[in-house]
């Protein structure tokens, strides 16, 4: 995790408080606008994120509550509180290293696999605590699906991939598996392309098809929430467009939490957007609000590509 912004273009209040390794900081233009929130974050001072009233109700399907995460001594997520509304697409945006992927992977506790990870605060999924002792992590991960940056079909047939989740949870009835396979592949807009070769290897599909297969695999177990970690970053524009259409489509039935680097993608597919910077939440609200009339000038500067 790199805590340093890749291209910091904002004038710091105190130069000596900035990461001394980042020599670019010293070359910053003098006329750059002053960002109070961002400089507060850079100086590790408390700041108040701008939360739109429409998402401040605290009744989301995923409730992130004062959540912090440390990799060893390094704090990469700082006391983030977010309420993800049910049945909508929520995008997490922010420059590299802002902790958005880490936050996403905290929802299904995938960070457990990393050595030396420590958390404080809590996350609730469907009202149930994710980090309370005694949480059934296996059951949690069944309720929270995930699609990765790079497509990761298992080296088995298309059919076996889609029903993997059902199989590992003990479903054996062929009729059920077949029904779920068809429904999930239709749901992932892949059925027409693969219905005649369900038994052939999933490794033979194109990159975009593989990613849609992974979405089909994730929705086959009907999760409450679907996490997507930059699902299009390894795809060409046409495949990206298909995935984006698919995200809009599955948002009719599922709650989606998506991390993206692509501002246009966030504005196209999401209903709500959260802007993060250096592990902190900066602004959160409806996507139209964030992209058209953001509360903070910092958000507007990021959205319009002035830094990031």
């Amino acid at each position: 995790m790199n805590e340093t912004p890749s291209k910091p273009a904002m004038s710091p209040v105190k130069v000596e408080a900035i990461d001394p390794l980042d020599s670019a900081v010293l070359d910053m233009p003098r006329q750059a606008p002053r960002f109070n929130v961002l400089s507060a974050i850079q100086n590790d001072q408390p700041h108040a994120p701008a939360i739109h009233p429409s998402v401040a109700h605290g009744k989301g399907i995923v409730e992130i509550k004062d959540f912090s995460l440390y990799y060893g001594p390094k704090k990469t997520v700082h006391s983030v509180s977010l309420s993800i509304p049910v049945g909508h697409v929520t995008a997490l945006i922010g420059p590299s290293g802002c902790g958005k992927s880490t936050l996403l992977r905290s929802v299904n506790r995938l960070n457990d696999l990393v050595d030396g990870v420590r958390t404080t605060g809590d996350i609730l999924v469907g009202g149930e605590s994710v980090y309370a002792p005694g949480t059934d992590v296996i059951d949690l991960r069944r309720r929270v699906g995930m699609v990765f940056q790079k497509s990761n079909p298992f080296p088995m047939s298309i059919f076996d991939n889609v029903v993997y989740g059902l199989r590992i949870h003990g479903e054996r009835r062929r009729s059920v598996l077949e029904e779920v396979c068809e429904r999930s592949l239709r749901g992932a807009a892949l059925w027409d392309e693969v219905k005649d070769r369900l038994q052939s290897s999933a490794m033979g599909l194109s990159g975009g098809q593989q990613q849609r297969l992974c979405i089909a695999r994730a929705i086959a177990v009907e999760p409450q929430v679907l996490l997507m970690d930059e699902p299009c970053s390894a795809l060409d524009p046409i495949a990206t467009l298909k995935i984006e259409e698919l995200i809009l489509e599955i948002s009719q039935k599922y709650t989606v939490l998506i991390v993206t680097h692509n501002m246009g993608q966030a504005s196209r597919v999401s209903d709500y957007t959260a802007f993060m910077y250096l592990g902190r939440l900066v602004e959160y609200g409806p996507t139209s609000h964030i992209f058209q009339t953001p509360t903070l000038p910092e958000t507007e500067q990021y959205i319009t590509g002035k830094f990031g």
Partner: protein, 367 residues
């Protein structure tokens, strides 16, 4: 003007000399590399040719029957002649003797090699895969993956004589005094398992069934020693193959709600052809292993279905008899056994390389 042109031409001639030197060095090194490569191939080819030529007399004498005959008798045999009815032929009140020429058949040693190697795999594969999974998935968390990997690789470097001595003085007595009597008392009375502990032999023209004497130096002991010797190589290669599984594959199955065991199974499945290659390399090592096996397998050229009976492998036969082979035919038959072993090992190795290489290409394609 003049000055600069002289210095230029000076410079030019120095450069061309330098280039000639470099060209010569290039050519010499290239040819050196080429001939080294060819030499290695020639060594393999000459090995096969020399072995084949030396084995020729035996092949001419026994033909393909060499592989199916289980008679291995390096000396002439003088015995009473019998007629077609099986009765002794007696002329003038004396039994007539006949002289049977030496006979060589490789079936018992081919059988011994195959069975001891496969038994060794049966013991070694679960242990090796378990150790490899431990090294890849558990040990890093406890920060002991490095030292443990080193120890595993160190096991592979122990001379086989050391294993053999340990087998002879520790393992064989243990089997003879404790393990095998216990197995006999437990499994012996089980119907259908009697063949494990009893054998049918012909003694002085009579067929008798008797208990196999438990010596501890038998097929079981040989297989166990082989298993211990091939665990390091299978573990080390399996570990590398499992390490090459992309992280996103493991995370993928865990994110689906797979348990530790289920995600491990996905990992094994992902790298199955590489693991098969690792097992094949273990098999190749087991088939060719000589010293330790010779010390503990009992060295008996007989096919017995019981793992508690002494046996012989191709390698142990060569180790036992080659120095004392006096007749040309005996020597030639031994060399034919060596040729069979060479061809078999070559075949297993090629298969293993192909499997391991294939899995790496497969993993690379998935990246």
């Amino acid at each position: 003007m003049d000055d600069s042109s002289t210095s230029l031409s000076d410079d030019g001639s120095r450069r061309s000399r330098r280039r000639r030197l470099l060209t010569f060095a290039d050519g010499a090194l290239l040819w050196g590399a080429r001939s080294s490569g060819v030499l290695v191939l020639l060594m393999l080819a000459s090995l096969v040719v020399v072995l084949a030529a030396a084995a020729w007399p035996s092949f001419r004498a026994f033909g393909p029957g060499f592989l199916t005959s289980s008679e291995w008798r390096p000396n002439e045999l003088e015995r009473p002649m019998r007629n077609e009815a099986g009765q002794l032929v007696i002329e003038d009140g004396e039994t007539v003797m006949e002289v049977v020429p030496p006979e060589f058949g490789a079936l018992p040693v081919v059988y011994g090699t195959l069975v001891s190697s496969v038994l060794a795999l049966v013991f070694a594969v679960p242990l090796s895969l378990g150790a490899a999974v431990f090294l890849v998935r558990v040990a890093p968390k406890w920060r002991i993956a490095g030292p443990l990997s080193f120890l595993v690789e160190f096991l592979a470097a122990i001379p086989s004589l050391a294993y053999g001595v340990w087998g002879l003085f520790v393992l064989a007595p243990l089997l003879q005094d404790r393990v095998e009597p216990l197995l006999r008392s437990v499994l012996g009375p089980v119907p259908g398992l009697g063949w494990l502990f009893r054998e049918t032999v012909e003694v002085g023209g009579q067929v008798v069934t008797r208990d196999i004497p438990l010596t501890g130096r038998d097929m079981l002991c040989g297989s166990l020693i082989l298993a211990i010797m091939i665990v390091p190589i299978i573990t080390a290669i399996s570990r590398d193959v499992l390490k090459a599984v992309p992280r996103v594959q493991i995370e993928g199955s865990i994110a689906m709600g797979a348990t530790w065991w289920q995600s491990t199974w996905s990992m094994l499945r992902y790298s199955r052809s590489g693991l098969a290659g690792a097992i094949m390399l273990g098999l190749a090592r087991a088939a060719g292993e000589t010293m330790a096996v010779t010390m503990v397998i009992g060295n008996n050229n007989r096919i017995s279905p019981s793992p508690f009976a002494p046996a012989q492998t191709m390698a142990s036969l060569l180790a036992n008899e080659f120095a004392e082979a006096s007749s040309t035919l005996h020597r030639s038959a031994l060399l034919q056994v060596a040729l069979i072993l060479l061809v078999m090992s070559l075949f297993i190795n090629i298969l293993a390389r192909w499997l391991v290489g294939g899995s790496q290409a497969h993993a690379a394609a998935a990246h």
